[in-house]
Symmetry: none
Subunit: 226 residues, 2 copies
DNA sequence: GGGGCGCTGTCAGAGTAATTTCAGGCTTGC
DNA sequence: GCAAGCCTGAAATTACTCTGACAGCGCCCC
């Protein structure tokens, strides 16, 4: 609800369960909670739906005829799908938990479960995915755009707004050259002395430490280079 | 401390570790945090102590001579003991996680660990049995949303409605950035001066004490940061 | 129904951090 | 060796944040 009201796109969730009443209940509840819901009744349908609807998170029942939840999970992970998966297990058996984690699930919930808890966990999972979206890396450098913090070989580096914006630009070009004009346009709206770019390059270099990561292309601009 | 002051009985924790300095440190710290602490120096003693002191939660080092942590854990579970167990593991290897979970642990922490984190997790584990999870934690901070009260390294902290709502938002984002606009939208329905967020951040900071937990991202918003 | 108290929201000035400019020294490529 | 361009310390400027004081509101207790 919050998400839809605040104008963010709804998170897409794929519900995979062979039990029609439960499936309907989940579809209704999750819609009411602001998710865009797609359903699949069995493992085979799930594999198709994942392709078609590209969900942000998947709710997967372990116990299903034909292709069970674990197999679906393994196959999706085998294809390199990074989408978070929440597994519904029948009993709180440790074996199930372990099997789920080993198959590549990100979280699990024991049936019968409290719906609000499911919703909370889905929110947590989709949030986690979103956070990864905003992380850029190059060599041993990572930048979390949202948190405005970078890391390089471990240590966290706090950045100011401009510093982060400039580093983000360099990272998005990831090795290609960023001209002074480009940076001025995108970050400063063209309304500053070109020298301000140099000033921030200096600061970034200092904060990022050794060995140097930002290379100067005389007469042109700058680029990342390990 | 929190629990004792608020009249609830202290949670009993059993610490099992073969390293005397670490054991002492944990005993002292956890006592200060309001836990009733029992210690055991090895697996055998642990099995005895569990019977004798009936702890509410167990902290168990994996690496110990004779009977190691995993064995202790398996034996206790074999006897049907439901007490939550937090395992201390040496490395953050998935194999360890799986082994720990398979042996029946509820949570694990990788050494070296931050003591406040251990405390927060222990609180989470002991609370789990009691009620539904309206409790959020970050580092050594916990917030009980329903009770509108927080704890940090001991002392209970009473919060007003707005304070609790803002802290809850920060906790739900757990380290990610919360913009002023977001807070205004979700807590104030957009119907207030943006400055009101700052006002409440100030109040929260004062109540939460040192070291500071709320970081300002100038021009953007705020985030939790230990 | 009245008084008191705590919570909430506003304002404005002080305080602080980030940004930008400037200028001189330095490096680079020719 | 020279010119063009780059780098960086310091200072100026700007923008944003923090916080004390205060007023209004609502709730609770008498």
């Amino acid at each position: 609800m919050a998400d839809t009201e605040s104008g963010l796109p709804a998170e897409r969730v794929l519900v995979v369960d062979d039990d029609p009443p439960l499936r309907r209940m989940l579809a209704r509840t999750l819609s009411a909670e602001g998710f865009a819901v797609t359903v699949a009744a069995d493992g085979g349908a799930a594999l198709v739906e994942v392709q078609r609807s590209a969900p942000d998170v998947i709710v997967l029942d372990v116990a299903m005829p034909a292709i069970d939840g674990l197999s679906v999970c393994r196959r999706l992970r085998g294809k390199g799908l990074p989408t978070p998966i929440l597994m519904l297990t029948a009993r709180d058996a440790v074996a199930d938990r372990v099997a789920g984690l080993q198959a590549g699930a990100d979280d699990y919930l024991v049936k019968p479960f409290a719906v609000p808890e499911l919703v909370a966990r889905l929110r947590a999972l989709t949030r986690r995915g979103r956070a990864t979206d905003s992380v850029l890396t190059y060599a041993d450098l990572t930048l979390d755009v949202a948190a405005r913090s970078a890391t390089r070989s471990g240590g966290p580096i706090e950045l100011t707004g401009r510093e982060a914006a400039l580093l983000e630009l360099l990272l998005r070009e990831s090795g290609r050259t960023v001209t002074r004009d480009r940076a001025l346009d995108e970050i400063w709206d063209g309304a500053a002395e070109p020298n301000v770019v140099d000033r921030y390059i200096t600061r970034l270099r200092r904060k990022l430490g050794d060995p140097p990561l930002i290379r100067t292309l005389r007469g042109t601009g700058f680029q990342l280079r390990a």
